[in-house]
């Protein structure tokens, strides 16, 4: 089964009121099991690309196919969001429950799991990321690095089949970066990482793509 996980065909997208489009006739493909790095200068549209895949933004033209299904309407994306996890560029934007445990259990609850099971899943995920003892910590008061890790836990708790990470290392110190590399290496799902740090990408992905307004060009290293 070598059907691509994500396919974007001839996507056109412009922010309302912006003078020029971010994407025009944009094409992109992600194959199963791949670990891909996305690079490109500031403002080239990397975040926009991830938000298009999650249905947080809608293209003005073109089609998006995810897991072999064309997605168009809000309803289609509801399913996509069950299977694809997105880590925001800014961890502050991702956490909104008072305590860590509640925040991690939020996703499973939305998936219809009963509370006891949701808590069970949350605890297991925390264990896996070495977040033991954080259950009742207030999310708002965590340090930058801890917030990133908890955000990752909230996403992983939904057991996604694909992970999108938007600049996971910005503002993190060396130690936390190493921990993140370690965690990512232990995952057995496909993921895509946006990053400006070549060093971090070298440790986590095998291929990198350069995002342009028209396509996503593989870089041969």
């Amino acid at each position: 089964m070598n059907e691509p996980l994500i396919e974007l065909h001839n996507i056109a997208f412009a922010y309302p009121g912006a003078p020029q489009p971010v994407f025009q006739d944009f094409n992109f493909q992600l194959l199963p099991g791949k670990h891909l790095g996305l690079i490109g200068p500031n403002g080239c549209g990397k975040t926009t690309l991830l938000h298009l895949i999650m249905g947080l933004l809608r293209p003005q033209a073109g089609s998006i196919v995810i897991f072999g299904q064309e997605v168009k309407k809000e309803k289609d994306f509801v399913d996509v969001r069950q299977k694809v996890g997105l880590l925001f560029q800014n961890a502050d934007d991702q956490l909104f429950c008072p305590t860590v445990l509640e925040d991690i259990a939020f996703g499973p609850l939305n998936q219809g799991k009963p509370p006891a099971e949701a808590i069970q899943i949350a605890r297991e995920t925390m264990e896996r990321l070495g977040l033991h003892g954080f259950e009742d910590r207030v999310t708002y008061k965590l340090s930058g690095g801890e917030k990133k890790l908890v955000s990752l836990a909230t996403v992983l708790a939904m057991q996604p089949q694909l992970l999108l990470l938007d600049e996971p290392t910005a503002g993190l110190d060396e130690k936390t970066k190493d921990r993140l590399i370690h965690i990512l290496k232990s995952l057995d799902i496909a993921f895509m990482i946006v990053s400006h740090e070549q060093d971090f990408l070298n440790h986590t992905v095998k291929e990198c793509c350069h995002v342009h307004g028209h396509c996503c060009q593989p870089i041969t290293t």
Partner: protein
């Protein structure tokens, strides 16, 4: 519920404006210069709350949160709500200029009443504080609905049925506001107790 321009009688408009001026004067007196940015953010919150739609069965309602505003601001809820309504009137033309006084009073007076009525209970721990927060949300909307109805009926007996319907529409909102105010209060108490200082002063 905003009342639009051109509905109320001059006497009601004038009375509302006068009360609003008094309330704002007291509120401004209690407002320090350093506190302005913080009150402004709550004012902005009140503005944006009316854009958040929550489902109530098949229909939707938008949040008002005037009970919460009272709990956080006390008398300062008057200027905060006035500014929020003024901006709504300017940017979206919700409500209006001549009804600004009346609308401010219908929203802010319940806020201040809630503040003084539930302050003592809110200071306590556990169940009593939670119940008081719930009651705060309910009372805020209930009084607000009653005041709107009063404004309409004083304008003319013809508005009797309209006023009844307005009150009826407030009932589901009341319960939701209660629940939401309760959860917000618990959240703030846990995450940022400094924001609740007003009730301890």
């Amino acid at each position: 519920m905003h009342i639009s321009e051109g509905v109320l009688s001059p006497a009601v408009l004038g009375g509302g404006a006068a009360l609003a001026v008094v309330g704002c004067a007291i509120g401004l007196k209690k407002l320090d210069y350093e506190a302005i940015p913080r009150v402004a953010i709550l004012s902005a919150a009140f503005f944006v709350a009316s854009l958040i739609h929550v489902p109530v069965g098949p229909v939707g309602a938008h949040l008002v949160l005037n009970g919460l505003m009272g709990l956080l601001l006390g008398w300062m809820a008057f200027p905060a709500i006035l500014i929020a309504l003024f901006l709504q009137a300017l940017l979206f033309q919700f409500g209006g200029l001549t009804v600004l006084g009346v609308n401010t009073v219908t929203m802010a007076a319940p806020a201040v009443i809630c503040f003084y009525a539930y302050r003592g209970l809110l200071r306590r721990q556990g169940m009593p504080a939670a119940m008081a927060a719930f009651a705060c949300g309910v009372t805020g909307i209930l009084l607000s609905g009653l005041l709107v109805a009063t404004a309409l009926i004083t304008t003319g007996q013809a508005f009797l049925q309209v006023a009844e319907l307005v009150l009826l529409a407030h009932i589901p909102v009341m319960i939701i506001e209660g629940i939401i105010t309760l959860f917000i209060f618990r959240f703030l108490k846990k995450v940022r107790p400094e924001m609740l200082e007003g009730i301890y002063a």
